[in-house]
Amino acid sequence: MRALLLALLLAAAPALAIPAKAIVDPREMLPDPAQEERARAIGKELRCLVCQNQSIDDSNAGLARDLRRIVRERVAAGDSNEQVIAFVTDRYGDYVRLTPPLNAVTVALWASPAIVLAFGALAVLAFYRRRRAIAPPPPLTEEERARLARLSAE
């Protein structure tokens, strides 16, 4: 599906290059496995700016490689995950974060699941209340009762 989009985009904007397949080069990796794992986790949170919705961890574009290197430099220098992400965000903006930060712009986004669920639940509640107001079907008449008794006797 992504390729379909890419194909269409290519038709519209030939300048956009399709990024080659992601294979993180082991030579990029940090010697300390714990640090490398952190760098990978951070990489999954950062967007490759020239790709379609890919993290820098998934992309083989030149820019993604540079960002991966920056992330590893920061991790090796002792930054925390938040500091590394802040370091990149300061230079590239919130656009680079795959998890949008919580701020005035995104508060509606983050609140949306709860809001939708609350409204849905209220609607369901109202539905059941209205339902209760509907009169139940009239009780059986004598004749129907007799017929029912006859039927159940059979």
Binding site: Q52, D58, G93
Partner: protein, 662 residues
């Protein structure tokens, strides 16, 4: 000559679709007898419309098959050296061709309603065909005006520009037809909803007519999404299967709502309740299908600027979308209040569980919708460029899905109207006990990560609950086995299909959870070196050059070793397509049915070291086994005599709920 024929056929189809959208509607308004003649034009125009669109599609396919590069679309998307399969599937591997495929499936659907809908009331059928005709008219116009696939090109190019190599793949070749079958299938449910609103009547019979179409569309959509994600898994080369890409979300949203619709239509059919909501769902499901088309076709999601590059198409679809969605919602607002609510039920009941199903599915759909469109909104409203990526979707959808998964196990065990929740839970106590023991053992002995463990536990819960449902229905263990078997054969197909589909969700979920614990290894290897991933040991045996009809490449050889013996070889490839100047990776996947060993090779350095990326994906094949089983469940359900169009009515078997044990 052939392309002109196709173009001409498409214009004729437009005129026929226009007639189909007006004449039967006027006839239906005049009434059964006075309008009979006009209503009879409905099936005729629908069938003729289907024939001419088919002819047109055949002409385009022919142009691709014989590589007629005088046709602009063929020249831009095909190549004389491309294998015949991809020449043919390349017909829909581009914007214009895929629009034509969309039209073809829509035309065939309305033709199918015309031919197989013989037992529909005349006015309802006329109105359904008219609504389908209107949708077809809009999109035929769009295709002819902005996306004509039959434009000629001059001077004649020597050869074509080839199809994007990522699309030259069996998985993706058949992904769009299934997806479109699903999208367009929801158009039929939409047409039934609009027709019912015009008629002002929704009853159990309506529910029964809508269900097979919804079910068929849902099956196709399920398979289409499954094929797409399978393709992403083996072709994109980093082992993922779902990326929360806008284009993926565009297909997931209608699927979520179609799933909800499928379930609420059951309530309409069995209990004549939830009618207004079901109509709304049918309208929304198709609206989201159209929105998906708009999002993909206009490129608006990637950036507002891409949209501006090709505003003609985007604006045209936006107008079509506004007319269809706005018009149908207006119709809904005007007519829905006249639909009389019927069928009372308690919140704890089968109906109540289906209401919960609808609430949660609709919520998850809304969450995906907001997440997908929010970057666009933030850009337009605040001028802020933000990204809403996979971490957001995982975090937002997860809390909605967990209760859905828990509840979907219990719902089928509840009787209609009014139920005893504790009685239903008591029937599941064995399942619950097994799940609990499994969860404790798994966390203690296998893996401490909580999310995958929760996924496995939920998967087991769903499968066991489906098994409990089946066992109870055939009274397994309580009557002689032969009798149980006879009962199993006698179960209505609709029930069997439901049980299969529910269990399939569990199987799929287990596969998804399995990805959460999959180990990977990325390493540099020289020929002769060995490495390990998960329980496996592999030896790298070097590279060799390979070539295909329109590509050349490199294949690596990885030998799977067990106790020093050679068990199998994997041959991941890198390919280069010179015409498109693109390289692709072809992952080598060795599956045992329970786990995948997944290998990709990258570049080779000057020192002769090759990048090798290995994944061991436990349960990964189950993602697609589960997806296919879901569709199988849908098809089994579709084969229920009750839903088969034209089948003589059989005495309805009430869903017999055996008394709880004790």
């Amino acid at each position: 000559m052939i392309p002109e024929l196709g173009h001409f056929a498409l214009v004729l189809a437009l005129l026929l679709a226009a007639a189909q959208s007006i004449l039967p509607l006027v006839g239906a308004a005049r009434g059964e007898t006075r309008g009979a003649l006009l209503m009879a034009t409905g099936p005729t125009t629908a069938v003729a419309h289907a024939l001419f669109v088919s002819l047109s599609f055949g002409c385009l396919m022919w142009s691709f098959a014989v590589s007629d590069f005088s046709v602009e679309n063929v020249a831009q998307n095909s190549h004389s050296l491309k294998p015949m399969l991809y020449k043919i599937t390349g017909t829909w591997g581009n914007h214009e061709g895929s629009m034509l495929l969309w039209l073809l499936i829509l035309a065939l659907s309305s033709g199918a309603v015309a031919v197989f809908g013989q037992n529909l009331p005349a006015t309802l059928k006329a109105r359904v065909l008219a609504v389908l005709g209107m949708v077809a008219t809009g999109f035929l116009l769009f295709t002819l005006v902005t996306s004509n696939p039959f434009n000629r090109v001059w001077p004649l190019p020597e050869d074509g520009q080839d199809l994007n190599p990522l699309l030259q793949d069996p998985g993706l070749a058949f992904h769009p037809p299934f997806l479109y079958l699903g999208y367009v299938g929801t158009a039929v449910a939409f047409a039934f909803a609009c027709a019912a609103l015009i008629e002002g009547r929704v009853d159990a019979a309506w529910g029964r007519w809508v269900r097979p179409w919804t079910l068929a569309a849902w099956c196709a959509l399920t398979l289409g999404i499954g094929l797409g994600s399978w393709w992403a898994y083996y072709e994109l080369g980093w082992g993922g299967f779902w990326f929360w890409d806008p284009v993926e979300n565009a297909s997931l949203m209608p699927w979520l709502l179609a799933t909800a619709l499928l379930h609420s239509a059951i309530v309409v059919e069995k209990r004549e309740a939830l009618k207004v909501w079901t109509i709304l769902l049918a309208i929304l499901t198709f609206s989201l299908s159209l929105l998906g088309t708009f999002l993909v076709r206009s490129g608006v999601l990637n950036s507002v600027h891409a949209f501006a590059n090709d505003p003609e198409r985007g604006v045209f679809i936006l107008i079509l979308l506004a007319i269809t969605v706005g018009g149908s919602l207006l119709l809904f607002a005007w007519r829905a209040p006249s639909l009389e609510p019927k069928g009372i039920f308690a919140p704890i009941s089968r109906e109540g569980s289906l209401v919960l199903n609808n609430l949660l599915l609709a919520t998850s759909c809304a969450v995906v919708f907001v997440g997908t469109l929010y970057p666009l909104f933030a850009d337009l409203a605040f001028g802020a460029r933000i990204t809403v990526g996979p971490p957001f979707f995982n975090a937002a959808v997860f809390p909605v899905f967990v209760p859905l998964m828990v509840a979907m196990a219990v719902g089928p065990l509840l009787p209609w109207k009014r139920a005893d929740l504790w009685a239903a839970l008591a029937r599941l106590r064995l399942a619950a006990a097994i799940v609990l023991v499994f969860a404790v053992l798994y966390i203690a002995a296998v893996d401490r990560r909580l999310l995958p463990a929760l996924g496995f536990a939920l998967a087991l819960w769903i499968v066991l609950a489906a098994a409990t449902d089946l066992a109870d229905r055939i009274r397994l263990g309580r009557i002689p086995f032969a009798e149980s078997l006879a009962r199993a054969r006698g179960l209505p197909r609709g029930i069997v299909g439901g049980i299969i589909a529910h269990a399939a969700v569990g199987i799929c979920l287990a596969g998804i959870a399995g990805k959460g614990i999959a180990p990977e290894r990325i390493t540099l290897m020289r020929p002769g070196e060995t490495t390990t991933v998960g329980p496996h040991t592999l030896r790298f045996d070097g590279l060799r050059d390979i070539s295909g009809p329109n590509w050349r490449g490199t294949a690596g050889t990885l030998t799977l070793l067990r106790d020093g013996r050679e068990v199998a070889t994997l041959s991941p490839q890198r390919r280069f397509y010179p015409v498109q100047r693109m390289s692709t990776t072809e992952a080598a996947i060795r599956t045992s049915g329970v786990a995948d060993l997944y290998a990709v090779i990258g570049e080779t350095s000057e020192e002769g070291q090759t990048v090798v990326r290995l994944h061991w994906n436990p349960l990964a094949p189950w993602i697609w086994v589960g997806t296919v089983l879901m569709a199988v469940g849908g098809l089994v359900s579709l084969s229920d005599r009750r839903l088969r169009v034209g089948a003589p009515a059989r005495r309805r078997r009430e869903a017999a709920v055996p008394a709880p044990a004790e």
